[in-house]
């Protein structure tokens, strides 16, 4: 397609909801690269209004006359395309629904809303024959949702393993590389602005869980909400856990995992700390970088890597969607909508297939290993490696299992805790990612 004359092209009217870090960057790029956008889309993208909560606050690079506090009125002003980067459930949900029902297409970065109630929004988009795109909602600038939705649409995805929260990956990287404990790295991350004053959403895995629900929905053609996701954060991960992982050649990561069950009728979606082999591509994802590793039948292993957050990277993802949606508008049709035909059953954590690493403080007496091995065997959990460390009051058994259901592993743990020879279950962590990828 050759360059059209930029004077002759039509104009699309754009409304921006939210002018925080991402919104300001989106506005700046729309303005600075206006000619490029016009050439790539075949229409000028005209920012006609920016809705904010506090009109008095200065917004770098956004013309004052564009600012409004009346988002609903802005949406009714003959808008072609709405960019929602305000975040949160309400009023974002009501405004997006208003926009879709007005016939405007919507680009959003709102993971919390999509993970809570995406179905309502997608239905409204389909009913009105408009687009609802959301690449920026997961893993910032990493092109991820479009590849899952389109490039792998001819394949069968088995499992998705993702590092999708930059704050916790930064903290776990620091713990791994410096030996520091959780509270130290949290304080450092807060001082550097990588973690918020109230870090709950990040460290307890809730942010990752929202992204896991979105990834699972796309990968398995099934509607998954955040309520379907098992969540465990990193606040209980200790320096000792990290050290034990290192000794075995592993690194601890907060993973978002979505996987097909063996009967292929269900999907398990979970977020928790996990040990990953150092040789796995995810192990080398450091600091605040994100990456998502996808295993599909024909494609094999595929990984996407990049910056998961920040104003500019998120704006890049938002604007990629803006170009796609705007191209559709110019051509007079919506893109292909959501695919949830497979309708798999979201199952609880007990159906997950995982491996475990278990660190036990045990009585230093003959027969303990045999007794413990018997407990694993009677719960149908096969031991892959066992190592004895120390002696006397400091006698430890490090056990790594083969794959088993989480239910079987939980029963094994419960039985171990009942054993007099087991003084203490010092550490327990799931193990993910095959060696050799």
């Amino acid at each position: 397609m050759s360059a059209p004359s930029l004077d002759a092209v039509p104009t699309l009217r754009i409304a921006l909801l939210g002018a925080g870090t991402v919104g300001t960057e989106v506005a700046r790029l729309l303005q600075d690269n206006a000619d490029d956008f016009a050439a790539r889309v075949g229409a000028r993208l005209e920012l006609v209004g920016v809705a904010v909560r506090d009109a008095a606050r200065a917004r770098d690079g956004i013309r004052a006359d564009l600012i409004t506090t009346d988002a609903a009125a802005l949406l009714d002003d003959n808008i072609d395309l709405v960019i929602e980067v305000m975040g949160g459930i309400e009023p974002a949900r009501s405004l997006i629904l208003q926009a879709l029902n007005n016939g405007s297409s919507v680009v959003t970065a709102n993971k919390a809303l999509l993970a809570a109630d995406g179905a309502t929004l997608f239905a409204a988009a389909e009913k009105n024959n408009v687009d609802l795109y959301y690449e920026a909602s997961v893993a910032g600038a990493i092109p991820l949702l479009r590849p899952l939705r389109e490039s792998l649409a001819g394949d069968k995805v088995r499992r998705v393993l993702g590092i999708v929260n930059g704050t916790t990956n930064y903290m776990l990287t620091k713990m791994d590389e410096t030996g520091a404990d959780y509270s130290e790295v949290l304080a450092e991350a807060q001082a550097l602005g990588y973690a918020e004053a109230d870090p709950t959403a990040d460290v307890e895995g809730l942010d990752a869980a929202a992204k896991a629900a979105i990834l699972a929905s796309l990968a398995f053609h099934t509607r998954v909400t955040i309520d379907d996701v098992y969540v465990e954060g990193i606040s209980k991960v200790t320096a000792a856990d990290i050290k034990a992982a290192q000794d075995m050649g592993f690194v601890v990561k907060l993973l978002a995992v979505a996987e097909l069950t063996p009967d292929e009728l269900g999907v398990v979606v979970r977020v928790h700390p996990a040990m990953v082999p150092r040789s796995h591509p995810l192990a080398s994802v450091r600091l605040s970088f994100n990456a998502v590793f996808v295993e599909a039948d024909a494609a094999g292993a595929v990984m996407f890597y990049g910056r998961g957050a920040g104003g500019a990277p998120t704006a890049s993802a938002v604007l990629g969607d803006v170009v796609a949606v705007a191209r559709n508008k110019v051509r007079g049709h919506a893109g292909y909508g959501e695919s949830d035909y497979a309708d798999l059953e979201p199952r609880g954590i007990s159906a997950a297939n995982t491996r475990y690493a278990i660190n036990l403080q045990v009585a230093d007496q003959p027969g303990v290993l045999a007794a413990i091995a018997q407990v694993f065997a009677s719960n149908n959990v096969s031991i892959q490696v066992v190592r004895q460390d120390g002696s006397g009051d400091e006698a430890f058994l490090l056990v790594r299992t083969h794959q088993a259901t989480d239910a079987a592993l939980s029963q094994t743990l419960a039985a171990l805790r009942e054993m007099p020879a087991v003084r203490q279950v010092v550490g327990v962590m799931r193990v993910e990612g095959e060696v050799g990828h």
Copy 2:
């Protein structure tokens, strides 16, 4: 979008050109996953014919009555979608043009044809308002072209660095990890089937060059052909080069590089061996895996990783395109076509901005380092690191430069070769990829 009844959906007629490793796998997956495809597309995908050169050869899993040697007649049989996996320039070009002019959409994995004469094919697709998709032509199963074309469409790409040839990456990995020389690893790769009996296209960089042209075209919205690509293969890389790179903390990779020139009016596309810092994400891409690293203004660094070749991975990419094209067919429109509005000038290697590592055997006498440093300075090439090794007849200087134009570096090399104190230029290699990504 809910699952439509699979009985009620329309049928799309598919023709397959070529039944080698990829074609056979495509046919198998179309058949095995027929219900999934119907649900994802909203139409049944019916394979109505497979054109081959030799009808007598058995094709695993392809019904004998589908096989024909008359590709042109098959294309005229009311076909909605053509999958071309025969490879080579002719007859592939004529057949694809016939298909497009018939109003059929086309999915192809043919990098050689696209890199030689993509413009003709894209023009035919646009004229006939049909799709020509080619995700499988670069880096096999790694979703790469669609993200470049769409996800990063709102961003400005500065540089693309790719490991896009599995054969040479396998060989360089083996040289790096075992210390073996080029001829040994080539023989091993041939014995294992990773390299062909005539390995020229792989080891001389021609396969990578075709892919580089395709990547550059997409990343820079500019038509680039293989004739615009500077190519240097790996056949001159020695065990000593690999060792020298290791000593400096680097690994040698065959890179496809496409970059915007500093004036933003040109693009340089090149394929050559390069030293990459061990800490760079591309350094850990081992064996026959592929990866492409993209640097964009807003997104920052993004990397895509996976299997670059093989029947199943390539089939995955082909079928992703088939689903996308088929969805467009069902909805009665073509997707957004090629974007070449930027029309940047392809410039020669002399305009490239690179760094160099140079290994010089020098006379062991006072003042040599100063004289050599003067040669670099007078050619406006700044030295980053210099190291002296050995003495007497075995005195060496290892020089690593800051970024400079390839022209300046070539002039420096020419001047060095003229110096009596320089006994021999032992090794020269470009250096790519910043430390710390």
